[in-house]
Every structure is written in structure tokens, then in C-alpha cells.
């Protein structure tokens, strides 16, 4: 039996009909199960561990990229199968995993095409989609082999599953990360406009291990959770979680 973890935003009335359709489809496929609604203070790891003890066959995350990151960053250490039912906007990870958005995801879930996914790891925490170091005077050392610096402030984004997008010269660029490596995007601040900083086009470095350090504490955001650090070590945790994916996946 699967356990379904519903994000808090799905309480909104506009999602009622899609949830009803999905629940009917899951019953048709014979994979309906227990529903747990995540609250803002819910600990996904604790919930997952409790359910694993009750010998569930898998945990299905229902929501968007934020839900996916929030649950897996805590529950990645749990040895169970994970599934994903993407609903609503902000669902870029689902596209990478080859899972259609909405009720069609039920068919993918029922097929149980399993794959082990890489996760990012930093200072004792996992991240699924992206890690963001806000602009600061940071120095970055890659795989203990070479060091990257810039004259002023730099922004760093490390992508695991979520593509990196930015705008420049009137165009929107996108880089899709590849599996088996983390990609670091470094953008030095080259000036200021009215309300925001102006960035240079990013430098890109695929890596397996990286250390970011600074004299002053810098802000780090991983899967929507922020903290302040002076030194972080980022690693790739290979084949960390077992996940149900679709045929149209990007890796």
C-alpha cells in the first residue's frame, strides 16, 4: 500500500476537483492508500519513518517542486520507494522525471518504473532540486583541484534536478543538468541597475565535490530552506533514493 503525502496548498478549493479525479484513478488502478496532509511544521522524515515501520510499499509526494524538495531533503535517508504526483504550477522536476502533471501521473505511478536518483548533499542535509548561495564575496574550490574567484561579489547556484534559467541580452537561457554530476553556475555581480544587481553570463562547472567559503557568513537556500553559513561542503550523493519515473524522463 502507498502512503500519499499531500502538500498544504492542496487544501485550496481550486484543487478539489483534480484531487477527486486523481483519487478515483488511483482506486481504478488499485493503488489507492492512506492520505496524510502535510502541515507547515510536519517533519517529513518522521512521517516517512513511521509509515515505513507499518510496512508500506512506497511514499508518494503530492504537490509541486517545493513539496518534492521539502519531503526528500528530510526523508532521503529512509529506505523506501518514492513516487510523485505533480499538481498545479511550479512543476519542473516532474518534467525531468518524465511524470505528466495531473491525473495522467497515476498511470506512471501504477507502472512502477523504478530508478535510483542522485541527490545533492551539503552540511548534513540533502537537496533535490537546487542550492542557492546569494551574492557575496565567496571563494569556491572544486574537487580539491582548482579554485575559482572573482573581483567582487558572486552568486552560486548548484543544480541537481532543476534546470538553471536566466535572462540576458533579451533572451531566456536554460541549462539542463545531466545525471551523475552536479552543475555549479557562478555569476559575478558586474554592476547595479535601479532595483537589482546586474550579473555577468554564468560560468559553469560540473563537479562531484565543492567547498564554498567566505570571511563573512553568507545566506544559503536549499529546496526553499534558508540558513547562514561561513563554509559549506557540497557533494553528490549517488543513487540515494529509489523513485518511480516515467518513460519520457530526461536522463
Amino acid at each position: 500500500m502507498y502512503v500519499y503525502l499531500y502538500d498544504n496548498f492542496l487544501k485550496q478549493k481550486k484543487y478539489a476537483s483534480i484531487l477527486k479525479t486523481i483519487e478515483t484513478r488511483l482506486t481504478d488502478f488499485g493503488i489507492a492508500g492512506k492520505i496524510i496532509r502535510l502541515q507547515s511544521l510536519s517533519d517529513a522524515k518522521e512521517l516517512a519513518e513511521d509509515e515505513i515501520k507499518k510496512s508500506v510499499s512506497g511514499i508518494v509526494i503530492v504537490g509541486n517542486d517545493k513539496t518534492f524538495g521539502q519531503v526528500l531533503s528530510r526523508a532521503a535517508t529512509c529506505e523506501t520507494l518514492f513516487g510523485f504526483l505533480p499538481i498545479g504550477p511550479d512543476n519542473k522536476i516532474a518534467e525531468i522525471l518524465g511524470i505528466p502533471i495531473g491525473e495522467d501521473a497515476c498511470a506512471t505511478l501504477s507502472r512502477r518504473r523504478k530508478l535510483r536518483l542522485d541527490l545533492g548533499w551539503f552540511n548534513g542535509r540533502y537537496f533535490v532540486s537546487q542550492l542557492h548561495v546569494f551574492p557575496g564575496e565567496i571563494a569556491v574550490e572544486y574537487d580539491e583541484r582548482f579554485k575559482v574567484t572573482a573581483k567582487g561579489k558572486m552568486e552560486l547556484v548548484v543544480c541537481n534536478l532543476q534546470p538553471f534559467e536566466w535572462e540576458g541580452n533579451g533572451k531566456k537561457y536554460v541549462v539542463r543538468p545531466q545525471d551523475g554530476k552536479l552543475e555549479a553556475f557562478l555569476r559575478p555581480v558586474v554592476g547595479h541597475s535601479w532595483f537589482k544587481e546586474v550579473y555577468e553570463d554564468p560560468s559553469i562547472f560540473p563537479f562531484q565535490e565543492m567547498t564554498v567559503s567566505a570571511k563573512k557568513p553568507f545566506a544559503v537556500e536549499a529546496d526553499g530552506r534558508q540558513s547562514k553559513e561561513t563554509k559549506i561542503k557540497i557533494k553528490l550523493s549517488k543513487k540515494r533514493v529509489e523513485m518511480i519515473v516515467g518513460k519520457e524522463r530526461r536522463f
Partner: protein, 163 residues
Amino acid sequence: MFQKTSRPAMPQEEYPTPGVSPDEVETVVGPSVRVEGDFASEGNIIVKGIVSGSVKTSKLLTVEKGASIFANVRAGNAAISGSIRGNVKVSDRLDLAETAQVAGDIDCRVLSVAPGALIQGRVTMKGIDIIGDKRDDKKVGGFMSKIKSRSEDEIEDSVGSAL
């Protein structure tokens, strides 16, 4: 009057090069970034800034105009428009654009040099077979001696007939 006008969608492009598969991310060193140490990559490398130490890739190395490398370079193929201070070893093709400057020895299989490119160093290319082969020297020597003897005979003949 206050109708919401929809902004035209911004064109989306795969970065950094249109010819490369979107899933194959390259290593890019931006213009105001400085890299120090043993810089190695399994994929293509594009250098727009400064690199010091050593550079190594089995694929394509592109050094753009204005970029500088203070290091020995090893690459599968290379296209240089910037400057390199160090030895360059390329297993296949090396292209030097008109703005390229190389201060160091070059070792490659195919070399293309645009007018205006500057090289200060020794150029070694694989596959050459006219230097260092003793049999070839002998052949050349024998051929030259034949020419010499024939011309001497002809001179003697011409002198004899004149007398």
C-alpha cells in the same frame, strides 16, 4: 482602457552553444572569473576569463578573444582566439584565429593558422617522414651526386668541344 496586455514571450535558447546537445553541459569560465589550479574537465571547455595552473580536456577547448591561459594545455581539439603562455599539446586539430597568441611549444596533428596569429615556440606535428630518415638522406645524397657528376661530365664535354 486598462486591459492587461500580454507581453510577448521571451525567446528561449539552450546555453552555451546551439550546436551542442542541451543535456551535455560544458565547462565555461566567464570573463571576470579567475581559475587557479589543475583545471580538468571530461567535456568541452570554453575559456572567456583567466586560467592559471594547467588545463586538460579530452574534448574541445575554446579560448575566446580576450581570454588568457597561463598554463600548459592538453586537449583533444582546440580553437584559440585568446592568448596562451605555456605549451599546447592537442591530439587532433588546433585552430589559431587571427587574434591568437601562443608563447610556448605546439604539438598537434592538424594546425590551422589564420593570418595575424602569433606563435613564439617550436611547432611539432605528427606524421612527417622527410626528416631524420637515413635512407632518405642517402637517396637524396645519391641523387644529388648523380646530378653533380652528370653536370661535371657535361662541363668537361663542353670544355673539350670548345678546345
